[in-house]
């Protein structure tokens, strides 16, 4: 009997030629460059997007604050006018209405303060003395 046999030989590891290796190295560099470039562009775009969103957020806050300030301004203006309304004639009317029996001071009854000293402590003392004098 004739037995046909095939000899099985283990494949030898192919050695990469030096030239092929050199070629792949050569291709890798520009790809890397492009990838790096794209990466930078991507990073820049992302940074821009992040910064923009932050700016938007700050802007919204600023607008909010501005509108709050604006409202405060309007409130202050309103209160200022209200204060002026309840002043002078209104007070006189209330005095009459509540029968407070208050009257204007007579001429010469009110004494003017005369401060003739220089240092602050002395001024305070002089003012207090004058106040006490005018209350007597």
């Amino acid at each position: 009997m004739n037995l046909h046999t095939t000899q099985i030989k283990p494949k030898k590891e192919r050695k990469r030629s030096r030239t092929a290796s050199r070629r792949s190295n050569k291709n890798f560099a520009p790809v890397l460059r492009i990838v790096a470039l794209l990466l930078i562009v991507f990073l820049l775009a992302s940074a821009r997007a992040v910064i923009n969103s932050e700016v938007e957020k700050l802007n919204r806050q600023a607008v909010n604050l501005k509108s709050k300030l604006h409202n405060f301004d309007r409130d202050i203006a309103n209160l200022k006018i209200q204060r002026e309304r309840f002043h002078g004639r209104y007070i006189l009317k209330q005095i009459k209405k509540l029968d407070l029996k208050l009257c204007y001071p007579k001429a010469g009854q009110v004494k003017r303060l005369k401060v003739t000293v220089s240092s602050k402590q002395d001024i305070d003392k002089a003012v207090m003395d004058n106040l006490l004098l005018s209350q007597r």
């Binding site: 309007r74 409130d75 002078g88 004639r89 006189l92 010469g108």
Partner: protein, 589 residues
């Protein structure tokens, strides 16, 4: 396919491509270069947001900085009918608004629920104009609570007079026409150029939703606030004057009444009031005859208040002395048809003034002569403007000597036949009080609200009214007698102080009316009751005139106007802290 065919096709294709390319290029050129301006403008208007900014109208203060006219923030309540929801929701919103705004609910509901007109969608409905901030806050609370839809608030400011009717005719008021302030009268009109604000614009790039881009292009043309005006008026004194004028009106029910107080040395108007008056914040109650400033626009015959001016001038020209005696015709001078209220025979010039003798004054004027009398009246500012910035201003009627008839010389010195404005009369008395005819000042300073820079209105030099400085003292001594026992105005005397003044009771002239068969004549029923004086007499702090038109009950200046003069003076002297000359009089009272 032959080689030549292929080449032809290539050529044709090339030409075609070239034509298309040329077409595109020319279109590109046309769009980018030819229509650049137009299209760029269109695009810019789409992505640019323009906000109008209007500055505040300047405020008006008294001399101490108390606000008399300001701007109050408010809002218009508006709605977008497309967003207001169903009829039921509109009903609820209308009910809420009518309660808070105190407006008819039906009208509000109609505005909220009318979503179309003439097959056009409505996007705007004005529910109420100029609503106060308190009410706006209430509405906003309700919106939050009950989720009312489609309501918006348009912020604005409106001119507001916090003191109501105080100084109303002098301040005037402002009408608003399409956000533009149109001053109608008073200081508002006189100082409109200074008080008006300049409008500005803010241009910004916007996003799709209309929000401004923070990093976009911004152009700001800033608006400017109007300047603030400070008057010479003192609010407290103005309150005294108006209080007392109200009492006079309540007691004598006149057609009108005025009071003006002026510092005779500076010409500063310290207070000026008029009745009837109005509240400039309430347009419904305003009537033209109440907002017209009669103190500057109307004229009247001054009556006996003219006498001190003529007598003072006669003293100055040495025509008479205080002791020169005239025969007063026992109360009726037949030649000139002139009558006195008190019968007098021989009277000195001092007595003629104290008793207000018409006959005596006429005789003094005749002794002076036409020319001197005319010169005197002109020198005291009659027939001329007073310098007050309020417009229009009447100059009064003072005819030239050539136009006088034989009665004129006896009538003009007693205040008949000439007419003056209340302002002119006060100014003439400033001349008597200080010796100089000062131009009247109403505006003290103008402040730039942004920089704080102050611009003072200059004091003008005032010509002396008397050639001899001693004349003033002589005349004042004589005028003091008017308010003392035996004078015509005892009721004007202020305890503790010497008052110099003069009463005036002038009949009103009734014009000819052919339709009613009336000939021009002096009325026996209608009078002007006047008192003009100054306190303290020797060194006056103010000149005060109280003029009452057609008072009921009494028509004498010494009865109607003099007590008002006294009460105003008392309060003002105390307020100005003027020490009394006779303190014992005050204590005994």
């Amino acid at each position: 396919m032959g080689n030549s065919d292929f080449k032809t096709r290539i050529v044709v294709l090339g030409i075609l491509f070239s034509l298309v390319f040329t077409g595109l290029a020319s279109r590109f050129y046309y769009v980018q270069v030819g229509r650049h301006g137009e299209l760029y403008g269109k695009a810019k208007s789409i992505y640019t947001r323009v906000q109008k900014a209007s500055g505040k109208r300047g405020e008006i203060f008294d001399k101490n900085g108390s606000l008399l006219a300001g701007n109050i923030p408010c809002s218009d309540v508006i709605c977008d009918p497309q967003l207001t929801g169903s009829e039921e929701e509109c009903e609820q919103t209308a009910l809420m608004l009518s309660k808070i705004l105190k407006s008819p609910g039906g009208r509000i509901y109609q505005k909220l629920s009318t979503k179309e007109r003439n097959s056009r969608k409505l996007r705007y409905g004005l529910l109420k104009k100029e609503v106060s901030l308190d009410l706006i806050a209430k509405i906003k609370d309700e919106i939050k609570k009950n989720k009312h839809k489609g309501l918006f608030f348009q912020e604005k400011t409106k001119r507001f007079y916090p003191k109501g009717s105080l100084l109303a005719q002098t301040l005037g008021f402002v009408n608003i026409d399409r956000d533009k302030a149109i001053p109608v009268a008073g200081v508002e009109k006189a100082t409109n150029q200074e008080v008006s604000s300049a409008k500005g614009k803010i241009k910004t790039e916007r996003d799709r939703k209309g929000r401004s881009l923070s990093y976009g292009y911004t152009e700001i043309d800033e608006s400017k606030n109007g300047k603030n005006v400070y008057l010479t008026i003192d609010e407290q004194i103005q309150i005294f004057v108006e209080e007392e004028l109200d009492k006079l009106v309540a007691k004598f029910k006149p057609k009108s009444a005025y009071a003006i107080m002026v510092d005779p040395y500076t010409g500063n108007i310290m207070a000026m009031a008029q009745r009837p008056t109005f509240n400039p914040n309430d347009r419904k109650t305003m009537r033209p005859d109440s907002w017209r400033n009669r103190m500057t626009t109307d004229v009247f015959e001054p009556g006996s208040t003219m006498k001190p001016i003529v007598i003072g001038s006669a003293l100055d020209y040495k025509v008479v002395t205080p002791n020169t005696v005239f025969y007063c015709e026992n109360g009726y001078w037949r030649d000139y048809r002139l009558r006195d209220s008190h019968r007098m025979k021989d009277a000195s010039v001092t007595h003629i003034l104290a008793e207000s003798s018409n006959v005596g004054t006429a005789k003094i004027a005749i002794k002076m002569g036409k020319i001197l009398l005319y010169k005197t009246l002109r020198r005291f500012g009659f027939g001329k403007k007073t310098g007050i910035p309020l417009k229009p201003e009447a100059t009064g009627i003072l005819r030239k000597p050539q136009q006088w008839d034989y009665l004129s010389i006896t009538r003009f010195p007693i205040g008949q036949g000439t007419s003056v404005s209340p302002m002119q009369l006060v100014r003439a008395y400033c001349g008597l009080a200080s010796g100089n005819l000062v131009p009247l000042r109403l505006i003290d300073r103008i402040e730039d609200a942004e920089t704080g820079a102050l611009e003072y209105q200059p004091y003008q030099t005032a010509p002396p009214v008397f050639r001899d400085p001693s004349t003033r003292a002589k005349l004042i001594t004589m005028m003091k007698l008017v308010t003392q026992e035996g004078g015509t105005a005892k009721r004007a005397a202020v305890p503790g102080y010497e008052v110099a003044g003069k009463t005036g009771t002038s009949q009103k002239w009734i014009n000819t009316d052919k339709s009613k068969g009336i000939r021009g004549h002096y009325s026996q029923e209608k009078f002007f009751a006047t008192f003009v004086g100054f306190v303290p007499a020797d060194k006056p702090r103010f000149v005060l005139a109280v003029i009452t038109d057609e008072p009921q009950g009494s028509h004498y200046g010494g009865v109607v106007s003099a007590p008002t003069f006294r009460e105003i003076s008392k309060k003002t002297l105390a307020y100005l802290n003027v020490a009394p000359k006779f303190p014992e009089q005050i204590k005994s009272k």
